[in-house]
C-alpha cells in the first residue's frame, strides 16, 4: 500500500500542475511583488558595453488592475516628464511639448532595453494567462500567453521561487517564441508593510548584445489614490502627489 502511495506521489510530482493552479500562482506572485495600489521610487540604469551609464529616477503610482503613472525626477533633461497607462492606453507628457501625446507599449521613452510596457507594467495576471506549469525542484516554471495582441510580449516564461512565490527570472518572447529580453530578479529586500520582494531587476536582450538595463526599487508602499490622478489633465501635476 505504501509502495502504491509512493508511486502515486511520484507521479504527481512529475505531472505538470494545471493551468488553473498556474494562474493562482501568477496572481499570488503579483500580490507579493506589490499591493494593488501603491507608490514607489525606482531608478533605471542603462549600461552600455563600455560601462557608460545613464540613470533615470521615477516616482510611480498604481491603482487597481489597469491604472499606472510615473513621473521622471532625474536626469535634468527628463525631469517633469510623466507617463500614464490606462489599460492599453498610454500617454507621455513632456513639459516642453506641453500636452500629453499617445505612445504605444512597444516604444521606449528611456532608450536602451526597457520599453514603455516594462516601465508602466500592469499585473502579470492582468495581461497573461498560464498555459502550462512545470514543477521543478525549487521553482515553478509558468508558460504564459498574452490575453490580447495589444501587449508588448506574446509569451512570458516565468521561473517562480516556490518558497517566497516571487519571480527569479522572466523570459519575454515573440509570438514565434523568439527571445526579446530576459529579466533577472535579485536582492530580495523587506520594504516594510509586509512587502518583501526583489529590489533589483537586471534586464538583458539578445537584440542589444552587451547592453544591460537595471531597475532598482528604493521604496514601495501601499497608498490609496483617487481615479482622477490617472487622467491626462492631471499628468502635468503629478509632482503634487509626492510628499
Amino acid at each position: 500500500m505504501d509502495r502504491i502511495f509512493g508511486i502515486c506521489l511520484a507521479l504527481l510530482m512529475v505531472v505538470p500542475l494545471s493551468a488553473q493552479d498556474g494562474n493562482d500562482i501568477l496572481k499570488k506572485l503579483d500580490r507579493n511583488l506589490s499591493p494593488e495600489s501603491f507608490e514607489s521610487y525606482r531608478k533605471l540604469i542603462n549600461i552600455e558595453p563600455n560601462g557608460r551609464r545613464k540613470e533615470f529616477v521615477l516616482f510611480t503610482v498604481k491603482k487597481g488592475a489597469d491604472k499606472v503613472a510615473a513621473l521622471f525626477l532625474a536626469p535634468d533633461s527628463e525631469k517633469g516628464r510623466s507617463t500614464l497607462r490606462l489599460d492599453e492606453n498610454m500617454w507621455l507628457y513632456i513639459p516642453n511639448v506641453g500636452r500629453p501625446i499617445r505612445v504605444t507599449s512597444m516604444q521606449s521613452v528611456v532608450g536602451g532595453v526597457f520599453n514603455n510596457a516594462d516601465i508602466l507594467r500592469l499585473d502579470y495576471a492582468e495581461e497573461y494567462f498560464v498555459e502550462k506549469t512545470e514543477d521543478l525542484e525549487t521553482e515553478w516554471l509558468l508558460h504564459t500567453k498574452a490575453k490580447t495582441n495589444s501587449v508588448a510580449y506574446d509569451h512570458l516564461r516565468i521561473w517562480v521561487d516556490k518558497d517566497r512565490i516571487l519571480p527569479k527570472k522572466i523570459e519575454c518572447m515573440t509570438e514565434a517564441f523568439m527571445l526579446i529580453k530576459t529579466i533577472h530578479f535579485k536582492e530580495v529586500k523587506d520594504f516594510g508593510g509586509g512587502i518583501v520582494r526583489p529590489s533589483v531587476m537586471e534586464t538583458d536582450s539578445p537584440l542589444h548584445e552587451g547592453y544591460k538595463s537595471v531597475m532598482i526599487f528604493a521604496s514601495i508602499a501601499g497608498r490609496e489614490l483617487k481615479d482622477e490622478v490617472f487622467t491626462l489633465t492631471f499628468m502635468p501635476n503629478m509632482e503634487t502627489l509626492r510628499k
Binding site: 552600455e48 525631469k79 517633469g80 492599453e88 510596457a117 481615479d227
Partner: protein
C-alpha cells in the same frame, strides 16, 4: 568654422570618461521634494545657409542689402523654468533669452514665455491664472484646433513658444465603463493693447471651452473659442492606439468670418471675410526594427490658392522693379505686411512624412531621422535629414540639413535660401 570649433570644444567639456563599475545604490535623499525648483537648458545653434538670390523672398528681405550666397549665423538660447509650490498653490515661470548673430549684426530678445498661478483645491478641480500655453490638438506637425496658441514650426514642433494671458479652470471626473474620463475646461481671454493684442479687438473679453473624454479607448476633444472682435472657432480632435505599434489621430476646425488678406489684380490689398474648414489626419507606425513612420495630411482652409500665391509673387516682382528704378519701397513694404504668406504653411494642401530610426547599429541614444513636407498644390517640398545624439546625460547634440526643392513660383522654390545646415548643442540643467 571658428564657431564650430568653439562649440565642439564646449561640448567636449561635458563628456566624461566611461565608468565600468557596477553601482546599484539608490538613496531616497537623492530625490527629496523641494518647494522651489528650477531647471531649463542652454543652447548654441550655428547655422550655415546657401541663399537663393533669384528667389522672391530674397528680393523681399534683402532688396536693399545684397548678401553673399553663403551666410553664417549663430544663435544662443537660455530657457529657464522656475516653480514654487505651497499647499494647493503653485507658481510657475518660464523665461526665454535669445542672442543672435547674423549679417554682422547682433540681436537679442528676452521674454516671459509663461508665468501663472495654479490653484488645486481638489483632485477634481483646478484653476490657472496668468500667461500660459494652451496646446490643443493631436497633430504632430500642425494643429488646426490650437485656437489659443502661436503657430508652431512643423520642423521643430516641440520648440517652446510664448503663451497667452488667460484664466482657465478644469473639472476632471473619472468613471468606470466605456467612458473612462471626462474633463471640462473653461477659458477667459482678456484682450487689451498690451495683453493678447493679436487675439481680437482691444478691451474685450473672449471666451472658450473644451470637453475632453476618453471614450471607447479613444481620446476625443470638442472645443470652441469666440468673443467680440474675433471669428468664432469650433473644433474636434481624436487619437487612438489601434495596436501596440500603431496610433491614428485627426483634427477638424471650422472658423466663421475670418479675415484673409490677398493681393487683388491691381496689386492692392484686399481683405476678404469668409468661413473656412481646416483638418488633419495622421498615423504613427512603429515597425519591429524600431523605425517610426509619422504621416500627416493637412488641409489648411485659411491657406492661399496657387493663384493667390502667384499674385503675391507678382507684387514682390513689381515692388522690387519699382525699388530698382526709383528707390521707392512702398510696394515692398506692402508685400512685407502680408504676414500670411510668410507663415510656416501658407498654402492649402500639405503632406508631412517623418521616418525616425531609434538607436540603429546598437548605438543607444542615437536617433537619425528624415523629415519631408510637401506642398501638394505646387509639388515643391523640403527634405530634412537629422542626427540626434545624447552622448552623455543632459547633453543633446542635433545636426540637421534642410534642402528646399521647387521650381520658380512654388512655395519652397521661392524661399530665401535653398539649403541650411545647423548644429544644435543643448545642455539641460
Amino acid at each position: 568654422m571658428k564657431y564650430l570649433t568653439c562649440f565642439l570644444l564646449i561640448g567636449s567639456l561635458f563628456i566624461r570618461p566611461a565608468n565600468a563599475q557596477e553601482d546599484y545604490s539608490f538613496d531616497l535623499s537623492e530625490i527629496e521634494k523641494k518647494a522651489f525648483q528650477f531647471g531649463g537648458y542652454l543652447e548654441a545653434r550655428p547655422v550655415f545657409s546657401l541663399l537663393d538670390r533669384e528667389s522672391r523672398f530674397y528680393s523681399l528681405i534683402y532688396y536693399d542689402s545684397e548678401q553673399k550666397k553663403k551666410a553664417m549665423e549663430c544663435n544662443f538660447k537660455a530657457l529657464l523654468d522656475l516653480s514654487y509650490e505651497r499647499g494647493i498653490a503653485k507658481a510657475q515661470i518660464r523665461l526665454n533669452a535669445d542672442l543672435n548673430h547674423s549679417h554682422s549684426d547682433w540681436s537679442q530678445d528676452f521674454d516671459l514665455y509663461e508665468g501663472y498661478l495654479s490653484l488645486k483645491p481638489s483632485l477634481h478641480f483646478h484653476i490657472d491664472i496668468g500667461k500660459k500655453r494652451l496646446k490643443w490638438g493631436k497633430g504632430y506637425a500642425w494643429n488646426p484646433v490650437a485656437f489659443i496658441d502661436n503657430p508652431k514650426n512643423p520642423f521643430d514642433p516641440d520648440l517652446a513658444l510664448e503663451g497667452f494671458t488667460v484664466i482657465s479652470a478644469d473639472y476632471i471626473k473619472s468613471f468606470s465603463g466605456k467612458l473612462r474620463t471626462l474633463t471640462l475646461t473653461g477659458i477667459l481671454i482678456p484682450v487689451f493693447k498690451d495683453v493678447n493684442s493679436q487675439l481680437g479687438r482691444h478691451n474685450t473679453l473672449n471666451y472658450g471651452g473644451k470637453v475632453y473624454s476618453l471614450l471607447f479607448d479613444t481620446d476625443i476633444d470638442l472645443m470652441f473659442l469666440t468673443g467680440p472682435g474675433i471669428s468664432s472657432r469650433y473644433g474636434i480632435d481624436f487619437s487612438r492606439n489601434i495596436t501596440s505599434n500603431i496610433e491614428i489621430h485627426g483634427e477638424g476646425a471650422y472658423r466663421t468670418e475670418y479675415s484673409k488678406r490677398v493681393v487683388d489684380d491691381e496689386s492692392a490689398l484686399d481683405q476678404k471675410k469668409r468661413d473656412g474648414c481646416s483638418y488633419l489626419l495622421g498615423i504613427r507606425y512603429l515597425t519591429k526594427s524600431n523605425t517610426t513612420f509619422f504621416l500627416e495630411y493637412y488641409r489648411n482652409g485659411r491657406g492661399y490658392t496657387q493663384k493667390e500665391m502667384e499674385d503675391y509673387y507678382s507684387l514682390i516682382d513689381s515692388g522690387y522693379d519699382m525699388y530698382l528704378m526709383s528707390g521707392i519701397e512702398d510696394e515692398l513694404d506692402l508685400a512685407s505686411s502680408f504676414t500670411g504668406f510668410r507663415t510656416f504653411s501658407p498654402a492649402i494642401n500639405y503632406l508631412f512624412l517623418r521616418i525616425l530610426q531609434k538607436e540603429p547599429f546598437n548605438i543607444v541614444y542615437f536617433n537619425p531621422s528624415l523629415t519631408s513636407i510637401c506642398n501638394l498644390g505646387d509639388g515643391s517640398f523640403s527634405l530634412v535629414p537629422e542626427l540626434l545624439y545624447t552622448p552623455v546625460t543632459d547633453l543633446e547634440l542635433r545636426a540637421r540639413a534642410m534642402f528646399l526643392v521647387g521650381n520658380r513660383g512654388t512655395e519652397f522654390g521661392e524661399k530665401q535660401n535653398n539649403f541650411r545646415l545647423e548644429l544644435r548643442i543643448r545642455y539641460y540643467f
